[in-house]
Symmetry: C3
Subunit: 347 residues, 3 copies
């Protein structure tokens, strides 16, 4: 079950061009491309004629031509050409998905098109705001998106899974403060006077203990922004004014691919040493290593959940307060949508 009336990241702005990009989202195949003027387009990746993949055809001007029988469809899904006949049956229509480009990502709306309001696109301005240097990437995880959300809303695991990069003992041992704000969940962890984790040292050269923070925001269906940083212990916890501070936003836009796989669009955007490309490359490598550690965990977890016939639920302890709140919000939204309630939760 997916929340359909919702914006999902479908691609990076960079990877979408004048070719046909096929990708599964929420168990539906989509084909995407840019028109000659650069505007993005998304259609169902099944020709309405015999269901062949349009993404295996060709882009002809602003239209897609099916690679099996040559039918052409324009950006509104209307069929404009059927070989060997002049009249075109109106039922030969490809499904069109609302699409938008914002914050260096391409967004699609999987539900009722009339509800697709671009103002509902979640705020990821750190990808393209002045003063921020984003490192962006894309992975797929062989696990349901909710397990990835759980992972990001309970960072306790950093201590056990990511010792080589962002984990330190303080994360596991410091309680979190969790708050629900409408459809959002806010989770805060302040770790005063702790060891800087390895990647913090490499990125910022800390030589003393630090005061570290994590401020997580969950936004349905699966958008998690993490404001993470630190300052030398005892100095001001204000990035704007403290020149020794380290601060980056870890942006996680999760898009369900199939029931047990997830597109993971991520960005780590920093507001220090923005022009240091070498630093950027180092961060990219370390972050990819970190996410691949998560992938191993989540794929194993998915397997063991799938194979469990006991009926026992996942259990929650204190550090799952954020997960539990987010799942409750999502359950409510999915139930409301199934029940026909008005769409378009606030972003």
């Amino acid at each position: 079950m997916y929340l359909k009336n919702s914006w999902y990241v479908a691609a990076s702005a960079e990877e979408l061009g004048r070719g046909l990009l096929g990708r599964w989202i929420c168990d539906e195949p989509l084909v995407m491309y840019r028109k000659e003027d650069g505007t993005p387009v998304a259609l169902e990746d099944r020709c309405p004629h015999r269901k062949f993949a349009l993404s295996k055809g060709e882009l002809v001007g602003d239209e897609v031509q099916c690679g099996y029988h040559g039918m052409k469809f324009d950006c509104s899904g209307v069929c404009t050409f059927v070989p060997g006949q002049d009249n075109i049956p109106p039922r030969l229509k490809a499904r069109v998905y609302p699409i938008a480009e914002k914050h260096r990502w391409i967004w699609v709306w999987m539900g009722e098109p009339s509800e697709a309001d671009e103002d509902l696109i979640p705020d990821y301005h750190w990808n393209d705001a002045p003063g921020w240097a984003p490192i962006m990437g894309y992975l797929t995880f062989g696990a349901n998106y909710q397990l990835v959300v759980d992972n990001l809303l309970d960072l306790t695991h950093e201590t056990y899974v990511h010792q080589a990069t962002i984990g330190n003992q303080a994360v596991a041992h410091t309680p979190m403060d969790t708050r629900v704000d409408g459809e959002n969940v806010l989770i805060e962890r302040l770790m005063i006077d702790c060891d800087p984790p390895p990647l913090f040292k490499r990125a910022r050269g800390f030589t003393t203990n630090i005061d570290r923070w994590q401020r997580i925001r969950f936004n349905p269906p699966a958008h998690i922004t993490i404001d993470a940083g630190g300052v030398p212990t005892g100095t001001e916890m204000d990035t704007a004014t403290n020149p020794e501070s380290m601060n980056w936003m870890v942006l996680n836009a999760l898009t369900p691919e199939r029931a047990d796989s997830t597109h993971y669009f991520w960005s780590v955007s920093r507001c220090f040493s923005q022009d240091d490309e070498e630093l950027g490359e180092m961060i990219r490598k370390q972050i990819i290593n970190t996410f691949e550690e998560d992938r191993d965990i989540l794929e194993t977890q998915q397997e063991l959940i799938d194979s469990d016939q006991s009926g026992r639920p996942l259990l929650t302890v204190n550090c799952d307060a954020g997960n539990a709140a987010a799942r409750k919000i999502m359950d409510g939204l999915i139930k409301a949508e199934a029940g026909g309630a008005s769409a378009g939760h606030s972003g």
Copy 2:
């Protein structure tokens, strides 16, 4: 659902010898071999004792001996030997399939044996008639046989899929004439004054435009013969009398393997330059390339049909007239067979 009371090609005459050949047909495993006198035999490829594959055993004279516990079965499926005991329980009987050899192919009847009339074997005389030089081959496609039938009854796709060999613009743009004749479907496309497609040029050296024809005959459950050819534009469209004509029969005997896979026995038999072996080899390579293009298409199509939960049917346009007629005939035959109607549709 398969039409069981029907002849299917199970092997080429060449590949069947004094070894055991195991092959799945209509979701049933068969073991086939030739007796010492050359007569073909087909049994179910499950030993009635413990269901081990007889094809993994040995041929002893005209009998098959199971490779697990040594039981022997003769060509009528009767068990003739059980280790360690003299009396042989009569229920130890292997299922026998009617089998025949005709037109260089081995045929099996998958339904009620008493209905198996060899006169019902479809006409593929171009494989062994004087004056014809067949190139024969075998492929498996990861798609249901009906998708392969669809593909062959609507050759519009040649223009988009097979540009490198048999496709030209004329195919897609020329309407077909479709006619139902009892259980057969006849489809004709005449393309006057068109570019010769690349393989026609290579095979026959056309230097001018041609008058091209395709005459397709569908015969249940999945036999498609295509009379294809061309002559220099304006010359007589009669292969027998026009020395510049090019003409071959494309023979397609499709046999369901499993629900989503098909045995494709094919032959391209020409009535020009019959002794030119180099030409034959060129044709073989080009035809295999062509069919592998189809395979890519059909396997993708199968995947997208299987994953579609929308309930939407495949749509038909003018060029699907032949498909639609063939599917209607097959639906009727399968329904009649399930309802217990007399078997043995005419070949």
Copy 3:
């Protein structure tokens, strides 16, 4: 359906150490390890918190620490540590399996723990009794354990499958004597004045015909011991007194892994030339070859059983008397267990 109130071999004593060993048994994932004092421990290999595999975590003293969120569990399954909180919810409990070490194998009890009586562990003393030299090994078969039991209770197949090692004509042609003794099945085959099979010749240098015996004992759920041997024809069939005799015990402890796979713990223990290591290595190689021949057979058989929609049962002939008896005993035990009858059949 498995018999749960039963001891199963889960590992060799050798392979279990101070690491975490994950293994599926009867469709359940287990993690096993040895405590500092060498005692074996088995827990369910799913953390009760979020179901991650405990076997991917770490052994800390005698406790397992989950590799995802760091929770610790002691050998009784009690959670002793939850990051970031002092009170530990009692429902955070890992399932513990009774475990024992006997006859160089590690045994787990898959059913009701209070019924786990070590006296019920089957007798495999030939693995560690004086005067016996065991060669031990482990394989997995892609087939249900009952097919492997069938295979071992009807050795007729040796003649057809294992001609290169232990098969001779006499096995197939000599009737067996089958007897049920409570929950055990006893099968005896005496082959007087027969060719020695190839492996017997290599192992013992027979130059004349032999008098050969096989005495099989089935013990539920899937323990099969085979007393196999031979003496020069006409000499005394008593291993203890006949210096030319050859005799080994083939021990087969089969443990269901999943519905269609089986852990095969085996041992071939001989009471002649016990110190001849070269002989031991030769036997190991030949036995592994022999069991791999069985694997090929059984995996094919499983496939053909799974794909058969005819509803026809496996048939039994005389040589299946032992199989049939064993299956009947097992059916009764599984039914009784499902019906809540007292557990703990006698070993």
